[in-house]
């Protein structure tokens, strides 16, 4: 029997790895984990968000020469304002499309055709919506391979822009951003309709008091679930020991996933359909989720091509490659079982 090393204890408490099976059965290691967790909890109380004014000063210092030049050329207060806005990460909506937008990336997910899930019955098509004919959809999933899907009877949602006022108590949200010891500093918030539940955090080995998947995910910058409290500087996801504070700011981007019909789907937009594959090769979709058209910067969503750390496939620990054996299974939809909504939401976010 090998006890956990101090490094392994720290990795478990910091959320860099899951506790090995040994920890579940060894009272000494469990006690040590609880004590280090208590130390980490104490540090969490002392943790502070990085102050916005330091960021503002940094960006102003970076922009100082450029601002001077523009003043000289344009002598325009408006130009200075535009530079200021760009400096705070607002370039996607203020630069008139002249600069590369942060979210404007190749549709990496579209490089594959139909994807398998843990659930034998459910397959995933993810790509650009080529056409809509009644409830019949054709998705270009990359490599020039289209997938035909029937959306008849499917739950269909699409992404629209939102604001922080959409984040209300009871709303289901998926938050991505920076993990801090107090919670998550939100770069993006996706508000899901009440009918769509976000993917659940993976479970840890049993007998791990003091270690909570939601909090470990938060340390890696992700929070998912129902909003339990809304405050002036953010909101809380989850309740009790799993509660995660989400800090928001004026640069936090909010999107809403709203229910719609087949007619509400837009051609050219990144779309995910999850359902059973029929004999004729048509995907009988249970859930269809669509992001905004390409080129529109949807934080945390397709067509970003980004795999947000902290979602189940990466474990709550961000990088699946770090996971020791016994951790969550591999694969983009691992741990989601036959939950079509959760699979679609995950695919959309990872698109």
């Amino acid at each position: 029997m090998t006890h956990l090393t101090l490094d392994e204890m720290a990795a478990c408490v910091d959320g860099r790895s899951v506790p090995p099976e040994h920890a579940a059965t060894c009272p000494a290691c469990r006690a040590e984990l609880r004590r280090w967790q208590a130390v980490a909890d104490g540090l969490d109380v002392l943790a502070a968000e990085p102050p916005p004014h330091v960021l503002e000063r940094t960006l102003a210092a970076i922009d100082a020469p450029q601002r001077h030049r523009r003043r000289t050329v344009l002598a325009s207060a408006a130009a200075v304002a535009a530079i200021g806005a760009a400096a705070y990460g607002l370039s996607a909506v203020t630069d008139g499309g002249t600069n590369p937008r942060p979210g404007e990336r190749p549709t990496a997910a579209a490089a594959a055709g139909l994807a398998a899930t843990e659930c034998a019955q459910l397959k995933v098509a993810a790509g650009t919506l080529r056409s809509v004919n009644g409830s019949e959809l054709v998705l270009d999933t990359g490599k020039g391979k289209p997938v035909r899907a029937s959306a008849a009877g499917a739950k269909i949602t699409h992404t629209v822009s939102g604001s922080l006022s959409d984040v209300t108590v009871g709303a289901q949200v998926v938050v991505q951003g920076g993990g801090t010891r107090r919670g998550v500093t939100a770069e993006s918030v996706a508000v899901l309709p009440r009918s769509v539940t976000p993917p659940k955090p993976p479970s840890l080995p049993k007998g791990m008091p003091g270690l909570d998947p939601a909090r470990l995910m938060a340390r890696n910058g992700t929070a998912m679930g129902a909003v339990s409290k809304v405050g002036p500087d953010g909101f809380t996801v989850g309740t009790g020991r799993s509660a995660v504070h989400v800090g928001t700011s004026r640069s936090t981007k909010v999107t809403k996933q709203e229910e719609t019909g087949p007619g509400g789907l837009r051609k050219g937009a990144f779309t995910v359909a999850v359902g059973a594959l029929g004999q004729d090769g048509t995907l009988r979709a249970r859930t269809v989720q669509q992001s905004t058209p390409q080129g529109v910067n949807v934080p945390g969503g397709a067509p970003a091509g980004g795999a947000p750390s902290g979602l189940p496939s990466g474990g709550p620990f961000g990088d699946g490659s770090r996971l020791p054996s016994g951790g969550p299974p591999e694969g983009p939809f691992a741990g989601l079982g036959c939950d079509a909504d959760a699979i679609a939401t995950t695919a959309l976010l990872k698109g």
Binding site: L6, A10, D14, G15, R16, R35, W36, A38, V39, A40, D41, G42, L43, D44, L46, A48, E49, P50, H53, V54, L55, T58, L59, I62, Y88, G89, S91, P102, A108, A109, A111, A112, G113, L114, A115, A116, K123, V124, K145, P146, V147, G177, G178, G179, T180, R181, R182, L277, D280, G281, T282, G305, G306, A307, P308, S309, P332, F333, K350, G351
Partner: protein, 203 residues
Amino acid sequence: MEVMSGEERTPPLAVRRVSPPHEDDDEGLLARVAEGDRTALVALYRRHGGAVLAQISLVVGDRGLGEEVLQDTMLAVWKGAASFEGRSRVRSWIISIARRQARDRLRRRRPRIVAADALEERPATGPGPEDVALERAEATAVAHAITRLGAAHREVLETVFGAGLTLAEAADVLEVPLGTVKSRLSAARGALARELSEKGYAR
């Protein structure tokens, strides 16, 4: 039109981490910073600014000065992103920059550094009866006890359990041997447990 009639199992979706790093990863963000993307710098600041500030505030012993050093650090990241060689994690790299910046500031401003007497090593004695106090105390009481620790002890706790660095990474940024990181961690926890025990949490 060719319509797929089967499934492709590999790759399922392009979500696996591959090389070059994803642009939302720390490494990817840093690459974008190197190309002049301010939004990537903002994202790095949000991710790591708090941990960096906690670190350097301890080094310089002053929150205001700590914020100045944080600003210097982010400017250094902006200018030096292209020089990141991937030999450490990005957070570890940024903290190392911050500590160098802090030392430079202190050298220019005043000869203050973490008190050497705070570095006194106690032998690591392993868990004792006082450790029970750690399990019984509320987080706020533990937090209060942490603020009463010596700078070196608090620093090592912040580095490992705050910033989330591995012990080897902590040894690197604190510029001490790995064994020292371990003994300081144990000593720091021992001091915390004693403090809480004296407050009655062990009973």
